[in-house]
């Protein structure tokens, strides 16, 4: 019940395109769903987060969509840029976070 399953493992998108990464969780007690971005040689950094009382949250080009009944949430990156190339991790929980396995995003210019 502690797993967070993330897909795809890797993603290649053209500059200006939309990147979509999906996650599914099992534990219905989870009440905080962040996405972290990690560049090579750096630690993960919080990108955007959502709580289950809303179905969508948007910050600039980044949007989280949340489906409580399906226990799924996704990250959408609009107008993807080469600088967005990084590894993205979804997570779920509260202060104790369970992380997905990560998605390596490459945005081709």
């Amino acid at each position: 019940q502690q797993q967070v399953k993330q897909s795809p493992q890797s993603l290649i998108v053209q500059k200006g395109g939309i990147s979509i990464i999906n996650c599914a969780y099992e534990n219905t007690a989870f009440d905080y769903f962040p996405w972290y971005q990690q560049f090579p040689g750096k630690g993960p950094a919080l990108l955007i987060a959502i709580r289950p009382d809303v179905s969508e949250k948007k910050e600039g080009r980044f949007t989280i969509s949340f489906n409580k009944s399906a226990k799924q949430f996704s990250l959408h990156i609009m107008d993807s840029q080469p600088g967005d190339s990084a590894t993205y991790f979804c997570a779920a929980g509260w202060s104790k976070l369970v992380f997905g396995a990560g998605t390596i995003l490459r945005v081709k210019s």
């Binding site: 630690g43 993960p44 202060s95 104790k96 976070l97 369970v98 396995a101 990560g102």
Partner: protein
């Protein structure tokens, strides 16, 4: 504001040797975490401290791993003896308090361990 500091950044040891990693969290952050990130996987929580007390160490391999947080500030993670499967990046993170609304974790750059 200074971020989470970790050292050393890189360490190469042979199996059965010991190693220690150090972490200095963001000033004022009560909660400190050690995560293990194996290549190609997401971070896995090893231990969580609230001030200088352990909140969760359920996934810490206690036969070889130990951690302490002295005076509720700096923390040290030790591995003795190391195994090949301990090769990973060890990430330290801190947060203001687990009860905070954001729940944001601030990660250091990590300590990369290679066990030969």
């Amino acid at each position: 504001e200074a971020g989470v500091a970790q050292s050393p950044r890189y360490k190469i040891i042979e199996k059965r040797q010991s190693v220690a990693f150090w972490c200095n969290p963001i000033s004022g952050h009560a909660t400190l975490y050690w995560y293990q990130q194996i290549l190609g996987q997401g971070p896995k929580l090893l231990i969580q401290f609230q001030n200088n007390g352990v909140v969760d160490d359920s996934q810490l391999p206690k036969d070889r791993f130990s951690a302490e947080r002295l005076k509720g500030v700096d923390s040290t993670l030790k591995i003795q003896p190391a195994k090949l499967e301990d090769s990973a990046v060890y990430l330290c993170a801190s947060s203001l308090d687990p009860g905070q609304l954001t729940g944001e974790l601030f990660f250091g750059e990590g300590s990369r361990l290679t066990v030969l």
